[in-house]
Assembly symmetry: none
Homo-oligomer: 238 residues x 2
């Protein structure tokens, strides 16, 4: 399938996934309503970004210089991804934070902290993707990774701590969601490293396919799983 | 008056309106303070955007292709508007949501939902404005309208529901504000449809004048009215 074929397919999956979550998600309590809305809107934002990329609007062609010059001297930079991520990754983390602190009072500092670390991660990674000078590109990559460690810190230390005061089933769900999210998200920098935005050792289409699998896993599959476990938590609340 | 004359005039109106709301708005309760701050900051953000447009920084010239070719093959795309709207429309909706749920506990999901639907509406409408290919332009327009329906849904269903538990005077104010906002906002897509960003059937200056009337109504006039009715609600609270 062509690059744009894959992008169209993902647009459809995201749209259907998002609407599916919005329509099937329950809203019996305020907490449950928030989870449904967050997880439903994330794939819809992604659908807009994939639509832009599929129609050629969300990308520009940049020069690509390399000693080995494996390609023809240019690469396609799909900048729409980074705009998508700037909105959707904070929403996914807010949803995780609300799961961590399900019943207890919310530690606003931890939520603001994780969102800001995440926004720094994505904005600096945009400069990574956009950079043409390798030295600068890799400095941005490093800065982004440091911010990513900040995100992990809040997930595994601050939110974990707050989560210890919750009911047993809430703790189990939080630890499971935190683990799945941490693993899926960790694959992103590895894929971007070898993609055309990084070292360009895999083709444009291969990078698109890798990233779409990650995106569908991180947004749609993880979304449905989160919503399902949140429904069980809410069942016990009521 | 020239296009830039109108833009300067609006810069002044927004600045004076915003400062007027900030200086005259009361802050006796936390709720009242929030309303004053929200409605005061909205026109100040708009003043920045109008300043950028008046000085020629908030606009670019794009090619304009049409069968009839009524103009000279280009149009001025005032992108600063969309940046302004991306910040100010969520603030106006948050203010409306806090009026809806004046005394009761806040449905976070509804607030997050309306803000996200609104941000999707504005971000996709930016692509509408920026697009040069008509078919894509109109798809973005449609997507933006669907998000707009999401905004209406939260106003007239979710928030309305929450509002039913409030005091009578709060219900009256909410319904009135929701109605005024819904009507003013509905005119935006109609004006943008015929503006240079859309079909280009009215001139650049005419579009500027239509939009400035809407912007002053939606931000300054609506702001002063909101603040006045909120003062009455707070009078009864105290
Ligand atoms: C640290 C790091 C990165 C991390 C990206 C991540 C973690 C993205 C997650 C995206 C998600 C979850 C999207 C969909 O929901 C980049 C940008 C690859 C490159 C620079 C270093
Ligand atoms: C649905 C839709 C639109 C709606 C715009 C609105 C509703 C703007 C409101 C702006 C306000 C209220 C600004 C100042 O306060 C656009 C972008 C015209 C075009 C695409 C379709």
């Amino acid at each position: 399938m062509s690059a744009s074929g894959w992008l169209w397919l993902t647009t459809a999956i995201m749209l259907i996934g998002g609407l599916g979550i919005l329509l099937t998600g329950k809203r019996r309590t305020k907490a449950e309503e928030l989870q449904t809305v967050l997880h439903g809107i994330v794939p819809i934002i992604a659908a807009c970004s994939y639509f832009a990329m599929a129609t050629g609007q969300g990308a520009v062609i940049l020069p690509f210089h390399t000693a080995a010059a494996p390609i023809d001297g240019t690469r396609i930079f799909y900048f729409a991804r980074y705009i998508d991520w700037a909105f959707t990754t904070p929403l996914l983390l807010v949803s995780l934070a609300y799961t961590a602190m399900h019943a207890g009072s919310k530690r606003t500092g931890a939520i603001v902290g994780i969102v800001l670390a995440d926004v720094v991660m994505i904005v600096t990674s945009f400069f990574f993707g956009a950079s043409e000078i390798p030295s600068l590109k890799w400095i941005w990559f490093l800065i982004s990774c440091v911010a990513f460690i900040g995100v992990y810190y809040v997930i595994w230390v601050s939110l974990m701590q707050a989560n210890h005061e919750e009911r047993d089933d809430v703790q189990t769900v939080y630890r499971r969601n935190a683990m799945i999210l941490s693993v899926i998200w960790l694959i992103y920098p590895l894929v971007l490293l070898v993609s055309p935005d990084g070292l360009y050792v895999v083709s444009d289409t291969a990078a698109i396919v890798f990233i779409l699998i990650l995106d569908v896993a991180a947004k749609v599959v993880y979304g449905f799983m989160s919503i399902a476990s949140d429904t069980k938590i809410t069942d016990r609340d009521l």
